[in-house]
């Protein structure tokens, strides 16, 4: 399953790279990309783990760059 999100307020490119790295480490994630320019995050993961992954990803994002809000694209 593939889900796309918009990261509003993403302002730091290095942070985007860090988020991508961290989210990819989560259990069940097949691939995750955080695109600084389009401010889009695409997560591909196992269906049953998706909800938990989204929650974890949200935590990672706000830890790395506070002020970023995650929205469904």
């Amino acid at each position: 399953m593939k889900r796309t999100f918009r990261l509003e307020g993403l302002g730091c490119a290095n942070c985007a790279a860090k988020m991508e790295r961290e989210i990819n480490k989560l259990d069940g994630v097949k691939s995750a990309t955080v695109n600084f320019l389009t401010t889009k995050m695409v997560i591909e993961a196992d269906d049953d783990k998706m909800d938990r992954i989204i929650e974890e990803a949200g935590k990672i994002i706000s830890k790395i760059e506070s002020g970023v809000t995650v929205k469904r694209a």
Partner: protein, 614 residues
Amino acid sequence: MRKQIIRIAAGGIIYVAALIIKTDIELLELALMIACYLLVGGDVVYRAVQSILKGQVFDENFLMSIASIGAFFIGEYPEGVAVMLFYQVGEMFQHYAVDRSRKSISDLMNIRPDYANVKKGNELVKTDPYDVKAGDIIVVKAGEKVPLDGIVIEGSSSLDTSALTGESVPREVEVGSEVLSGYININGLITVKVTKEFEESTVSKILDMVENASSKKSNSERFITKFARYYTPVVVIIAALLAFVPPLFLGFETLEDWVYRALSFLVVSCPCALVISVPLSFFGGIGGASREGILVKGSNYLEALAKTEIIVFDKTGTLTEGVFNVKTVHAVNCSEDELIDFAAHAESYSNHPISQSLKRACQKEIDNSRVRDVEEMPGYGVCARVDGKKVLAGNTKLMEKMGISDFEDNVEGTVVHIAIDNTYAGYITIGDEIKKDSARAISELKNLNIKKTVMLTGDSGHTATKVASELGMDKVYWGLLPNQKVEKVEELMQNKSSKGKLAFVGDGINDAPVLARADIGIAMGGLGSDAAIEAADIVVMTDEPSKVATAMKISRKTLKIAYQNIVFAISVKVLVLLLSAAGLSNMWEAVFADVGVSTLAIINSLRALSSKKY
């Protein structure tokens, strides 16, 4: 944003005033400077504290706060404020540049339709394209985007296809024409029957592809990601060593001086310039290409394209029009009409361009009930029963394979031999025209120093060599079956240099395995052809082979920009680090090496997106 500008400006004014007054009372100076500092950089410090509380160290805010506060502690108040001031101004420029880039990107993506006018009874209902079903009837007015792929059932108009094809000449459509989402209706009113739902429509596919292209990273991007990962920690560790080891253990000068040098290190320790500008260059290149009607499915393909040494073209449908017409009919033992009739029926189930031309040439309507037991033999032809008679239609290889020996051997051009009930019945020659654009494509590629241009075809040697020599190609291989094309490409790949790449250009319909095998598979005429879009790494929307040369120019320009940014950013940073370590540069240079370089690199990347005609 506005508030921030006012704050920074106010801080700047107080700062300059404080410098001019040059008060001797240190406490007053300190008070003024702290006021400035908080005004200018309060938010940075606040964010830094927040990050630390969340366990996130070494982010940009933290490093800048440490550097500037550190400057205060060693008594360099003006320096401390200056660092923050310039960092903030630089950040603002950088944000502006990023916003501009994001806007250019979203303009590029602005082909997404907002609504569809769905016809319900006599009413038109504005509907979200997502909710329109295949089979619905929609109306596209002048000035509107075609929201979904479909077929015109009423009206006629001129459509602007440039967003998809890069082609500036409008396309005329009438009843029965296929229209694709992303076209813009210029003048008439057309009623369209939707054939594909939004997610399957051309516009969605293209947007999807361009947006996802960044997930397939180029080597340059991979390098930057790796570099960024180690750069900051390494610089910070060196800074820590620099601050304390020489003064405390080696006995050099003052502690303040070395700490100052170390603080400059911290200022330069963000790899932002690279992390933003290199992916932006590739994104720009991919975006610029899509504006020319060239879809690149990943940064890695764009990078590979710039290193192409050998380009292999399929002939039919790629260099030639792929529209065949019957030129001569030579019948033995039966009439010419009968011969065409049998051939057309035998080939009636095939979509091959040759079969199409036979069907067009046939006077009678094709009657499928007359045909049975169709067996297609790729690379040979077809065997079928027509009116109960066993009909073979195909090339000389088919005749030899089936044991028909008395066929005419020396016929020019593309030939379909026909045998009826194992007796040779004659041949039909079919001609194809070279595309007007092909010669230009090959000569442009030669100007781009492509080492070798090769043509592969399943066609006979006669036609193949004629086309190849007319176009000035270096090498031609003919009479190839689909699997032999793969073998040829593999053979050619072994002959290139280790870093060079091989690109194969085909129509994406019959040559999917070759497209997959080549370093870069390029499909032509992708517009409206899902097969081509699926199979290839790069899709040329129109039928013009010269777009391959255009794509190559874009890829080389993109790579050049990316390299420029890498070399520029790294060398400025290393230079400033060395100068700071030696005590020859101050924090001002360090701030420039951070935000200044980022801003310049981003502006440079934007060139990749420029819509300059190639």
